[in-house]
C-alpha cells in the first residue's frame, strides 16, 4: 500500500519535473529533464561505464561504515563508561566533526596516499559521530534498578556493559547506525570529490567539468540508489537485532 503510495508520489514528481522542464524550456545545463537523465543513466549502465565507479564507491562505503561504526561505537562505550574520558576527548571529537573534511582532504591525501584508504578514513571520520553520541546516550539511560541488579549479581563492568547496557540501549544505538550509514555514503562521495580518479563522487565532478548535467544527475541517482540500499540493509539488521523486544511468541 505505502510502497505503492511512495511509487505513485515518485511518478508524480517525475512527471511534474519533466513537464516543468518542457514548458519552461529549462536549459539542460541547469536542470535536465528526467527523460534525458534516464537516457544518460541507461547508456552508462549498459555500456558498463558506471560499474567500476559504483564498485569503488560501494567498497569505500562498506569499509568506511564498518570502520566508522566500530570506532564510534567503541568510543561511545569508552566515554559512557569513563566520564573523565568523555570530558577529555569530546572537544577533540567535536573538532574532528566540525572541521570540513573537504578542506582537509588534500592533507589526508598527504597522510594516507591517493588510494582507497584516504577515502575510507574520511568516510569513517564522518560517520562515527552519530554512533558515538547515540551510544553514549543510550548506555547512560539504563534504569538504576537494573544496574543494582547487576551489581548484586557480581557482574563485572564488561558483563554489565555487554549483558545489560548494550541490549537495553540497542534501539538508540541502532538509530545512530541508521544516521551513520547515510552519512558514510556522503563521506565516501565527498572524499572522491577531492582526491579520487574513480568512484561516483569523481564522476560527479568530472561530469560537472564536462558540463554534462544529465550525466551528473544520473550519477546522483546511482548514489541515491546506493544510499537506499544501504539504509534498507540497516533496517533489516535492526529488525533482526530487535526481535527479542518485539516477538510475541
Amino acid at each position: 500500500m505505502n510502497r505503492l503510495g511512495s511509487f505513485v508520489l515518485l511518478v508524480l514528481l517525475l512527471v511534474g519535473w519533466e513537464a516543468g522542464c518542457r514548458v519552461f524550456d529549462v536549459p539542460q545545463l541547469v536542470l535536465p529533464a528526467p527523460s534525458v537523465v534516464a537516457a544518460s543513466l541507461w547508456k552508462g549502465l549498459a555500456s558498463g561505464y558506471f560499474w567500476p565507479h559504483i564498485r569503488a564507491t560501494a567498497l569505500e562505503l562498506v569499509l568506511g561504515t564498518l570502520a566508522g561504526c566500530a570506532l564510534g561505537f567503541l568510543t561511545g562505550v569508552l566515554m559512557a563508561e569513563a566520564a573523565g574520558l568523555r570530558r577529555l576527548l569530546m572537544p577533540y571529537v567535536v573538532v574532528s566533526q566540525v572541521v570540513p573534511k573537504l578542506a582537509l582532504a588534500p592533507l589526508f591525501v598527504l597522510w594516507f596516499g591517493f588510494g582507497t584508504s584516504s577515502r575510507v578514513v574520511i568516510t569513517a571520520l564522518i560517520c562515527f559521530f552519530p554512533l558515538l553520541e547515540n551510544t553514549l546516550t543510550a548506555l547512560q539511560q539504563v534504569g538504576p534498578e537494573r544496574l543494582e541488579l547487576f551489581r548484586l549479581l557480581g557482574a563485572s563492568r564488561l558483563q554489565t556493559l555487554l549483558r545489560l547496557k548494550l541490549p537495553s540501549g540497542l534501539p538508540g544505538i541502532l538509530a545512530g547506525v541508521r544516521v551513520a550509514v547515510v552519512l558514510a555514503l556522503v563521506g565516501a562521495v565527498v572524499g572522491e570529490f577531492v582526491s579520487a580518479n574513480q568512484g561516483l563522487g569523481a564522476l560527479v565532478i568530472a561530469s560537472q567539468g564536462n558540463l554534462d548535467t544529465p550525466l551528473m544527475f544520473a550519477v546522483l541517482l546511482l548514489i541515491a540508489a546506493l544510499g537506499m540500499l544501504a539504509y534498507q540493509a540497516t533496517l533489516l539488521l535492526e529488525r533482526w537485532l530487535l526481535l527479542p523486544f518485539t516477538r510475541t511468541s
Binding site: 536549459p27 545545463l29 592533507l107 591525501v109 591517493f114 580518479n197 569523481a202 567539468g209 564536462n210 558540463l211
Partner: protein, 306 residues
C-alpha cells in the same frame, strides 16, 4: 541624484579574489556607477557554475574560461562571448627541477596532478600532452585539490598542472626550484571570456556595452596603477590580506589581459582566429563533439561601438 542605477550581475568562476579586482572596486573607483550600473558579483566554484548561473538568469554575464564556454556551446546552449578577459593562456605544468621534466614528452608515464577532474588544469594538460603526441592515458592523472603543490613537494606526483598565479603564489610559499612548461607556448589562446546568453545579447546590447566599457576602464586602471589596485584588494578581495602577494597576482593578470591584438584594437578584443584554433584543438582532443564555428558565437559589435 541622477537616474537610478541598473542592476548588473556578474557570475564569477571563483570567490571575489584578488585576480578579479576590476570587478570588486566599484565602491572605491566607481567605474560601473559611472556607466549607470549597480554591479553585483556572484561567486562560483569553477566556470561551469558561472555559465549555469547565466543560463538560469541568476546573472547577466559569466566570467568563464574558454574551454567551458566552448563546451557549453557544443552542448547546444545558446551563448555568446563578448569580451576577451585574458587573451593569454595562463596554464602551465610544473615539475620539480630534480625530476628532469622539461617538455611535454617527458610527462609520459608520470603522475601528473590536476586541481580536479572538472578544472581547466586538466583540459590544458590534455592540450599539452597532445602536442607531444600523448593522450591522457599515457600519464597517471591524479586529482590533488587546490593545494596542488603540496603533493608535488612530497613527491606524491611528478608534475602538477597549475595557472600562472597559482605558480607565483606557490613560489612565495616555498615551492623552490621548478621547471615550468607553459601551455601558451603550444596553444596560445584565450583563457577567460565574458559570456552572455544569446537572447540577452540580442535584447540588451546597450546595457552590455556599458558594462564592457566599465570593465575595460577598470582593467586599464589596474594595468596603469597596479599598486593602488593591490592596496584596494586588501579591503575588497577575500584573499587579499597581503598587498605584496596582491601586487604580484595583479601584475600577472595585467600581463595576461593584453596581447598584440588588444594593444592594437583595445582591451577585450576577441581574437577569433586563435579561438577557432583552440576550438579545433579541443575537438581533436575529444573535449568537444562537434565543430564549433567561433564566429557564430562571439560578438564583436559591442566593443567596436565603444
Amino acid at each position: 541624484q541622477a537616474k537610478p542605477l541598473d542592476k548588473f550581475t556578474v557570475a564569477g568562476w571563483s570567490k571575489p579574489i584578488t585576480e578579479v579586482t576590476p570587478l570588486l572596486v566599484d565602491e572605491d573607483k566607481g567605474f560601473y556607477k559611472a556607466q549607470g550600473l549597480a554591479l553585483d558579483y556572484v561567486p562560483g566554484a569553477g566556470s561551469a557554475d558561472a555559465i549555469r548561473n547565466v543560463l538560469a538568469g541568476q546573472a547577466d554575464v559569466a566570467f568563464s574560461d574558454a574551454v567551458t564556454f566552448l563546451a557549453a556551446v557544443d552542448k547546444g546552449e545558446k551563448l555568446r562571448a563578448i569580451y576577451d578577459i585574458y587573451p593569454q593562456n595562463v596554464f602551465n605544468v610544473v615539475a620539480l627541477k630534480s625530476s628532469g621534466i622539461t617538455k611535454p614528452s617527458d610527462l609520459k608515464g608520470k603522475k601528473v596532478g590536476v586541481y580536479s577532474l572538472a578544472s581547466g588544469t586538466r583540459q590544458n594538460l590534455q592540450v599539452l600532452l597532445h602536442q607531444a603526441g600523448l593522450a591522457e592515458g599515457d600519464v597517471q592523472v591524479q586529482v590533488t585539490g587546490v593545494l596542488n603543490f603540496a603533493p608535488l613537494l612530497q613527491g606524491q606526483v611528478d608534475a602538477t598542472a597549475a595557472t600562472d598565479t597559482g605558480l607565483a603564489v606557490g613560489r612565495r610559499r616555498g615551492l623552490g626550484e621548478v621547471n615550468v612548461i607553459e601551455v601558451g607556448k603550444y596553444l596560445p589562446s584565450s583563457s577567460d571570456l565574458f559570456v552572455v546568453r544569446e537572447d540577452v545579447y540580442q535584447q540588451k546590447k546597450a546595457l552590455l556595452a556599458r558594462f564592457l566599457l566599465a570593465y575595460r576602464n577598470a582593467a586599464a586602471w589596474m594595468i596603469a596603477k597596479p599598486e593602488e589596485a593591490a592596496q584596494l584588494a586588501t579591503k575588497r578581495a577575500i584573499d587579499g590580506s597581503d598587498p605584496a602577494v596582491n601586487l604580484e597576482i595583479i601584475k600577472l593578470r595585467n600581463a595576461s589581459s593584453v596581447s598584440d591584438l588588444t594593444r592594437k584594437q583595445g582591451l577585450g578584443t576577441i581574437d577569433i582566429a586563435s579561438l577557432q584554433k583552440a576550438a579545433d584543438a579541443y575537438r581533436q582532443l575529444g573535449m568537444l563533439q562537434k565543430a564549433v564555428d567561433v564566429k557564430q558565437v562571439v560578438a564583436t559589435d559591442l566593443l567596436s561601438g565603444l
